[in-house]
Symmetry: C2
Subunit: 407 residues, 2 copies
């Protein structure tokens, strides 16, 4: 008999029939003798609808505390309906808001951080053999104001509760079968990964293979919570996200992640002196521009090129910042390539395999894919390429590491 | 500078534009220097929508605790949007759920009774010149479970908060201009009443002139909270509901109430012994049948006719109960008249005017309206008549007491 935290996202509970479907699934686990905490998101497009009302009533500038008061109702609706569905199936169930479950956060509305979770009430209710249905994405401050946890908040609620309760597993139910070696729409031979490490999952998530939000994976890693990413609509096991994988060294690369529509911006010939990079990236952060890759190449005459990538949507804003700073940094010109994309090979195995980078570059070269920039981390190699070559590059890397083969 | 509790019902906050409209109205009061607590209901048909989802997910039998968890979100949405709208107008505002405002109820889900209201947080926030926006209809138990107050719950929240804060007035905003002498659709000359006593309001409300739910009027009466029933869509003063009215003796009758589609059921010749009525009305209550008038006439030979009225919708169920009990009560037959209606003249003035009943019966007689039964209370005379004669009877009584004339 296990203690399971099961998390279902908005598309899994989008209407009453889907809620009943999830309830049946939970009931089977309950009947098998497991203790179940179920974390749910708002139904389907509820949050979008609430946000649009908030924008309308406030001229696009809703008060943060009140926005949290508003948005938290979305999950509250789902927990009540889910508990009713289970009760109707003869299973003892009880719904709990973030506050009732004892999730205390800081005071930063709309992206609050969890400070602590008191497990007293949950443990007592589980001891009474009740299914506990918890509203994801929300908590409350010490002043008893409702807060929300920001993007990926429901996953985070599930992981944090699993950590607090020392649950055997935290199951994240989604509309896909698990984590794939790459996007099956690009590579038809993409394979579901059975096991992956937290670190690999983190790299894959940042690179756009976003089944799970990074905050949740980080939290799971910190508290060593076993995650199981699996499908709401299938009984098949999904992907286990764990600390370490047996025979880890046999697997070189776990997956290929990519992100289209990046823009690469370079300021040429900036002064080669301390503080240049700091000035540039502080100015970009002030405008809320999320910088992705940073590439700096040494050049002659104590002058440098400093470059970075941003999402295509942010490129115009980023260009403005660079043009405004160019003179101060001593740069000669700002250039922008709007049609680039990022492709990464991710795998803890590359730490013990010396030829990963060589294999990847050779394969890309043979496929005629030109590499514009390269960055690497401990478990990831990323190349910047022309956007139109993304599909070919992903397929090529996937083939080079034989990812379609089962491990 | 006054302390005002302002309550707006669902139709006054049915969409974002209406919420902004209400916010402007509140802002004017705030700018005039008044301290404002605003109590709101769920938007428009929100509650109906939530109830229908609950019925769907639970096979028509939602768990009471979970239904309260669900329904309370309706008001929570409105308070957040209302606070945003006010903040957007530059007025300092804060939304509060029933629990946050300190409304503690008993444990009876879906029709909880308020045990106490702690005014600490409200008083502090009002002291900071914040408009406090409170979710109507809800509270929470000592165990921290969410409860709802049942029908008329938002009015009750407003009145109870006004009582706890010793507010100067509790303004109930509706879609009518106030309380009328009778239904203007029946009597075109019906007049808005400027002042009415709690007791009269209670009698009018029970009789179907339901602007205000009785629980709220009773609560206002008990704590002597001045109510002001007025229109959301007009600046005109509405109807003040107060303890006593100056020159009260000049006004004989305040209004004429009526209810169509009643059914009168009589069991003939029941035993004239103790316990007969108790048995009958206990059996009816067990089937949740709301009995309205009760009429018992003494007859010959120690046998009685016992009769009562119920709403037309309940008549079939009530008939079943009577048929099942007839033999035990010694009755000879059960008769049912399904086409009756109730008309009442209400007024505290009748306590000091001896000829009210006579005037009313004479007028009805001259108009050719046949009276089937009569009951009276301290401040009300009610007659049962044929349903088809309701309009004529109401007009006749309204004319007889010259209710179209301003007082």
């Amino acid at each position: 008999m296990a203690l399971k935290v099961m998390k279902f996202g908005g598309s899994s509970v989008a209407d009453v029939e889907k809620i009943r479907n999830v309830a049946r699934r939970v009931a089977r686990e309950y009947d098998a003798g497991h203790d179940c905490v179920v974390v749910v998101s708002a139904m389907g497009k509820t949050t979008d609808h609430l946000v649009s009302m908030a924008d309308e009533v406030s001229g696009g500038n809703p008060h943060p505390r009140e926005l949290d008061m508003l948005l938290s109702t979305g999950e509250q609706v789902t927990i009540a309906l889910m508990a009713m569905a289970l009760e109707n199936m003869g299973k003892s169930a009880i719904s709990l808001t973030g506050r009732q479950v004892g999730i205390v956060t800081d005071f930063v509305h709309s992206k609050a951080r969890i400070r602590e979770i008191s497990t007293e009430r949950l443990s007592q209710l589980l001891g009474e053999r009740k299914v506990c249905i918890v509203a994801g994405f929300q908590g409350s401050t010490e002043n008893d104001d409702i807060t929300t946890l920001g993007r990926g908040g429901s996953d985070l609620t599930a992981v944090a509760i699993a950590a607090a309760l020392k649950a055997d597993v935290c199951e994240i139910y989604t509309d896909v079968l698990g984590v794939f070696t790459t996007d099956p729409r690009v590579v038809p031979g993409a394979r579901k990964i059975d096991q992956i490490t937290f670190d690999e999952m983190l790299e894959l998530a940042t690179q756009g293979a976003g089944v799970l939000h990074n905050r949740s994976v980080e939290c799971a890693k910190n508290y060593n919570v076993t995650l199981h990413v699996r499908s709401t609509f299938s009984e098949e096991p999904g992907t286990l996200v764990v600390k370490e994988i047996e025979n880890m060294e046999d697997i070189v690369i776990s997956g290929v992640a990519f992100r289209r529509s990046e823009a690469k911006i370079t300021i040429r010939n900036v002064n080669d002196e301390p503080g240049v990079a700091a000035k540039l990236f502080t100015a970009l952060a002030k405008k809320h521009i999320q910088v992705d890759m940073i590439i700096q190449n040494e050049t002659l005459n104590q002058r440098n090129d400093i470059g970075f990538t941003v999402s295509g949507a942010d490129s115009a804003k980023a260009l403005e910042v660079c043009e405004a700073l160019k003179a101060e940094l001593g740069g000669s010109e700002v250039v922008c390539d709007r049609n680039v994309a990022k492709v990464s090979a991710v795998g803890v195995g590359m730490q013990t395999h010396v030829d990963v980078a060589a294999t990847m570059f050779r394969a890309l070269s043979e496929a005629g894919v030109n590499i514009l920039s390269i960055t690497t981390s401990e478990i990831k190699i990323t190349v910047l390429i022309a956007e139109e070559q993304v599909d070919r590059a992903v397929q090529t890397i996937h083939d080079a590491f034989e990812l379609s083969k089962t491990a």
